[in-house]
Amino acid sequence: MGGSKIKLDKDLLAKVKRYAELAGYSSPEEFITHAVEKELAKLEDADSEDEIRRRLKGLGYIS
């Protein structure tokens, strides 16, 4: 896998390995990537601007 390496605490890494396997991820990297992506999506708001516009204007109160 390309990109930078990130250090993880040994205990945390052990947990990541265990739960990645339990949850059906193909590797700990995939699990971590997904977890980080999910958190980033929350921060950035997963909805695109079009999606927001559609939801807000569908209200009727705003045209």
């Binding site: 997904h34 921060l43 109160y61």
Partner: protein
């Protein structure tokens, strides 16, 4: 009064005899008492009083003699999600956390709908262009606090709560619930219609809340697609689509529509029944199901086809809409399928010119018929405990038709509006009939409440709060020559902006450390806030010579409940009667003028100061506990069952 309690009742419904299931105690011992609350959204106290004095609301008049008739204090601000949350939780916005239809993420200033949000699936397995969610996504209700029916249930009282706003996804704590305002269509919006036309040039107004497709017929045939949501199983997020075909008769005003394995033949001006819409997510494996109705508006010389927003199918809801999950389907089995999306009256199609007044009133009357069929069924089976039932048409039709009964309204057309001059009054008369029908079902020791969440007022003048902020030096633009062009604050220079408005009554100070682009030091917040409040209160509409803002409230002072105070706007604007915040301002766009005429068909509204537009409260007997506002109405409902102490304090 008749008392009617049978395990199973029969009811005439649309000319058919249908079996009515019983809604009551289930395995619990019966309470032996029934309390019903009928909620008529937006029913105005002043208009109700006038129609009562004219003798047009005999059942309301009877309630006023034997029980209660009074104004009911609404929420600050008087928007439906806020108002109904006040009723549901017994708290104000500071406690339940719903301040406006729209909130903003303070960090990014992204607006979002205030009552619910969607969480993406937790684990996703990817393979090629497909992905498989290993755990489901989640819909989250953002209203905080304990709903009053939860307390009733804790006391062994079975509750049925139909379509109360700000309860999507359903709380899960009532014996039976069907969600209402806040429930999306299948694409997650408040309802996006589709309009297919060979003459798209007819639609000259801005179209929001729907999509207009210009089409061409080939030998009388058109192949179209209904758009669904992004495919959750596709890693590229492709939108799923469902194909349909229209065959237009060459000479007669008739069209045949083929959707999946369904075929309908519709005359010009005719609506289909609800049809299944199936979106394939993964062939042979996973399908997403919804439903829609087709309306052939015109056939010749131009062809026009309207398709409703694709609603969640109560038999196979793609999102949770009822408690228990099968309740939505049980209702549909008994009464026929029904709109599940929030606020289904097609205000958007009328506002954008896709519908004319006649189309709108016809579609709205179909919604009314569905609501009443459902109500008759639920009422017929209601044996014990508590029932809430919501009627939304009093609100939605008042929004669109206020102009027709108000000759001074800028959108009033004396000729075109004449057939609709009395439609709002007629709705009140119809509400009175429903109340009469309900009274017939109740015994003398049982209680009926009739209430509304707020009143109504004309919307004649639009006030752009963001433009006022700019003109008064509180908001700066990156490019002043583009004032009025860009939404979502895209033209705002945040480094020089002290305040901004978002939503229909909300104003925020651009606080450093709270807003991601904040410029006002926390210590200066109160000073800026006071200055803006004073300035807004002084503003006089140059056309009317009247103040545009009746009251400005600081969240820190006006709310008694404080747990979620920090997410609220710094100032809440109470507009004068006749004034509303402009559409543009609500989404962070400026206009060339601060205040201007509202010529839209959306001509009535309820964003005025809460003191200007109270709702109504009626009851069929003196109440055990007095009520002044929505906030203490639920306590009065509980008192009818001898329960005190609401809202619960931890």
């Amino acid at each position: 009064m008749k008392r009617q309690r049978r395990p199973t009742a029969w009811l005439i419904c649309g000319g058919l005899w249908v079996v009515v299931a019983s809604f009551g105690c289930g395995s619990r011992p019966p309470v032996g008492k029934r309390v019903i609350v009928l909620g008529f959204d937006g029913m105005d106290y002043g208009l109700t009083r006038r129609l009562m004095s004219e003798g047009r609301l005999p059942n309301f008049e009877r309630l006023s003699r034997i029980g209660t008739f009074q104004p009911l204090g609404t929420s600050i601000p008087p928007q439906s999600p806020v108002a109904w949350s006040n009723f549901i939780t017994g708290m104000d916005a500071g406690g339940h956390g719903i301040y406006d239809f729209l909130h903003r993420d303070s960090l990014t200033l992204t607006p979002y709908l205030s009552t619910s949000r969607t969480e993406p699936p937790g684990h996703i397995l990817k393979f090629g262009r497909w992905q498989l969610p290993l755990s489901g996504g989640k819909m989250e209700l953002l209203r905080h606090g304990t709903p009053f029916w939860e307390v009733l249930e804790q006391h062994g009282i079975p509750t049925t709560v139909i379509r109360i706003p700000a309860n999507f996804p359903p709380s899960g704590s009532a014996s039976r619930e069907l969600s209402g305002m806040g429930t999306p269509d299948i694409v997650g919006s408040s309802g996006m219609f589709s309009f297919f036309t060979t003459a798209p040039e007819r639609i000259t107004d801005k179209v929001t809340g729907g999509t207009v497709y210009g089409i061409e017929l080939e030998n009388g045939v058109f192949k179209g697609k209904l758009k669904g949501p992004p495919n959750p199983l596709s890693s590229t997020g492709d939108t799923v689509k469902a194909d349909f075909t229209v065959h237009v008769d060459a000479s007669r005003p008739v069209a045949k529509i083929v959707l999946g394995d369904q075929e309908v033949i519709l005359q010009e001006g005719e609506w289909s029944e609800w049809l299944d819409v199936k979106f394939t997510l993964l062939r042979f494996v996973q399908t997403l199901r919804g439903m829609c109705r087709f309306y052939v508006r015109r056939v010749h010389p131009e062809f026009e086809l309207y398709v409703t927003p694709i609603n969640l199918d109560p038999f196979h809801p793609a999102m949770p809409i009822s408690t228990p999950a099968e309740f939505a389907g049980d209702l549909a089995r008994a009464t026929g399928r029904y709109y599940t999306q929030e606020m289904p009256e097609e205000t958007k199609a009328l506002r954008s010119g896709v519908f004319d007044d006649a189309d709108f009133m016809r579609q709205a009357s179909m919604v009314v018929e569905e609501e009443q069929r459902l109500y008759q069924y639920v009422l017929g089976g209601f044996e014990d405990g508590f029932l809430f039932y919501y009627f939304g048409n009093t609100d939605q039709i008042s929004h669109m038709m206020w102009r027709a009964m108000d000759p001074s309204h800028p959108a009033h057309d004396p000729v075109a509006d004449e057939p609709y001059r009395h439609v709002i009054e007629d709705l009140y008369v119809e509400a009175d009939r429903i109340v009469g029908e309900t009274l017939e079902q109740l015994g003398d020791d049982e209680t009926l409440f009739v209430m509304s969440d707020h009143g109504f007022a004309p919307w004649t003048r639009s006030f752009n709060v963001n433009t006022w902020l700019k003109e008064n030096g509180y908001l700066a633009l990156k490019d002043p020559s583009r004032q009025g062009e860009l939404e979502y604050f895209q033209n705002v220079d945040w480094s020089r902006t002290q305040a901004y408005a978002l939503g229909l009554n909300s104003l925020y100070i651009n606080v450093r450390g709270r807003e991601g682009v904040g410029s006002v030091p926390r210590g200066q917040r109160q000073i800026v806030l006071d200055e803006i409040a004073r300035g807004l209160m002084r503003y006089v509409d140059p056309k009317t010579g009247q103040r545009a803002i009746a009251n400005v409230y600081s969240r820190d002072e006006v709310y008694q409940d404080r747990e979620y105070l920090d997410i609220g706007p710094d100032l809440i604007l109470g507009f004068a009667r006749g004034v509303r915040g402009s559409d543009e301002s609500a989404l962070g766009q400026l206009s060339s003028e601060i205040i201007f005429d509202n010529t839209s068909k959306w001509s009535g509204d309820h964003m005025a100061d809460h003191e200007v537009i109270p709702g109504i409260l009626l009851s069929n007997r003196p109440l055990q506990r007095s009520v002044t506002s929505l906030k203490n109405l639920a306590a009065a409902v509980l008192a009818e069952f001898g329960i005190e102490g609401f809202p619960p304090r931890e």
